[in-house]
Amino acid sequence: MNKFWPLFFCFWPVVAIVVFWISPAMNWWFPGMAMSPLGEQIDNLFYMILLVVGIVFVGTHIALGYVLFRGVDHADDKKSWFSHGSHKLEVLWSVAPAGILLFISLYQLEVWMRYRVKSHFPDDVQPIAEVTARQFEWRIRYPAPGKPLMPTPQPDDLYTVNDLHVPFGRPVLIRLRSMDVQHSFFVPELRVKQDAVPGTVIPVWFETIDEGDYDLTCAELCGWGHYKMRGRVLAERELEYQAYLKTLQAEQGYDGVQELKSTGAQIAEYSQGTDNKTGH
């Protein structure tokens, strides 16, 4: 019976370690595989921290276990050992964590700068769309096919909602704005998250590894419809992407006289991705 509490307090850390060890493999941790190169690096950072923290966790709990088990055999009438503290120990367990933290902060600097500092963006990344977050949708403005995106709206710009098409395999940049309150442009599978702050234009770049239909959600509470603020990022081949822009252009210049398909077919055509996985 005396051994119960030591065993109890050592059992749970063991369970925790097992769970943390297997959770990446069981997909309990990240929202799917990272589908962007920078996302993979971010995941690596997570793993690195897990390793460091894990070692510390295991170490400290072994120490805890040792102390507990040693104390079990301690007779009740024997005097306890009293420590006056140890300067060496204090220094050790201040310097070591500080060193680890310093290491982590320097180690992640490159990934952070690549994401956030304009001079470290990929050289050739061009803005392909301006995404304006609004209660409760994402309004997207593309430039006309073949033209660069201008900071102010142009007469031949193309507009759509909630449906961001990007070419995969190369870095793309969007200019993120907000029309009313703070929102956050969050594409979990690409590991992209950036607050949209009203009054600012924030460049957000990402590169998608593969074609696919990725969820775009809002990650900053913005009102009663925050939970509904879903969009999608459709990564497709360059050719399909250009074709999509052309379809959008034709549809937006529709004057009622030319032969165009019915509304449903038109909208289906330019909102169609690989397949409409994201229902409501």
Binding site: F136, P155, D255, Q258, G264, G279, H280
Partner: protein
Amino acid sequence: MKFSDTIVCAVALLSIAGCSSNSVPQFETSQDTEKLFQPARDAVESELHAAFGTPDQLVVWPELPVDFGNFGGSIEKVTTQGTVVVPLSGQSPLATADRLPELSGAAVLVAPSGGDETAEDGQAPAEKAVAVYRVAHYEPESKSLHVVGDDGQPTQISATEGDGIQIIGDGLQKGRNLYLRHCVHCHGVSGDGDGPTAPYLKPRPRDYRKGLFKFTSTKPGIRASRDDLFRIVKLGVPGTYMPSFMLLPDDEVSAIVEYVRWLSMRGELESKLVVQLSLDFSSTRLEDESFADVSAEFDEFRGSDLPDIVSSAGEELSVDWSAPEDPENVVTPKEERVASSEESIARGRKLFLSEKTKCYSCHGETGAGNGTATETINDLPGQPGVKAEEPGLFDSWGQIIKPRNLQRGLFRGGRRPVDIYRRIHSGIKGTPMQAFGNNLSDQDIWDLVNFVLNVPFEKKTQASH
């Protein structure tokens, strides 16, 4: 435990449990219906109930031009205890094959096939009644359909091989579920634009009950088409709180559109009945006459006139809501769009500021929506002598409405050239924006369209006021 402790515990428990009962969605009667005297109000409610039901017990009125989602088939075999084997196929756009495993609660009609129609004594053969049941569930692999009675209780299905089966109402159920999930919190259970979220929104959500929708492609006086409503749901209305449901699959949007049309028809039936009854049977009449007298008159009216009113209202709804699907009723420009050149825009500007159209009187000389019409305090609509509280123009829903600020480049009904053409040609239903199609040629309207699309890009010169 002391008595006072019990009280405290009870209070604590109650505060967690709350006082609201399990709320079931119910259709609400309109404010105009509330003004009728009680028997008239009851009559209106019972007619609506008979024709449309409640959100949980939907009623299919086959006369209405709504796609209720029909499946049909011919019975192959009748097995025991309310089960028949019948291969079902969809007979209307909302009745798709993937709905078959989800059938539940839809109405089942069994129509006997020819059979023996022996004439008796030279009279016409008696028509066998169509029996009505309810779907319990359907198994597509074995094609067996389990039914229960109309009251939900198990029942024997009386049918023979070869009888025709129709399952009707599944599309409406699908639309109802989607509407309750996505739309009801703004647009309300009855489609009155007064859901729980509505008080926080300006402009208010659409009240469907007038049968009026603003942004349509149809001619003046014609209802909105399915296409128009589909566009609104898919693309949203920029500049308002109506979001875009771009990512909903098309079939779900179509189901929602059908349900919205159905709600709109319900609202129209209610207002038609109320208009017919309100002259003579409003509750203010009880101030002068006795309840018994008015009741007696109402009973006579109810017996002799009301059935006709209801059936002719049904016919009108049928005609009015089928008309928009006719391509003849869609506004299509006859001439292709004039290219957007400096000259065209200059012509458009001239028209905008001309006395012929007087666009500037509402939209302002710079297109900022601040024309002089917005500065006067006008009478409330329909009430001469009763002034409004703030200056401006009204829409048909009684709200103050501002003319569009063209400088923003936000077009609620769509930004395609044809959309703006339609706004100018047929006006915007339910608002003071009038139809100019009679006065202006296509060339004129295209010039105006080019001008309007260019307004956000005009260099901001010195403001005129």
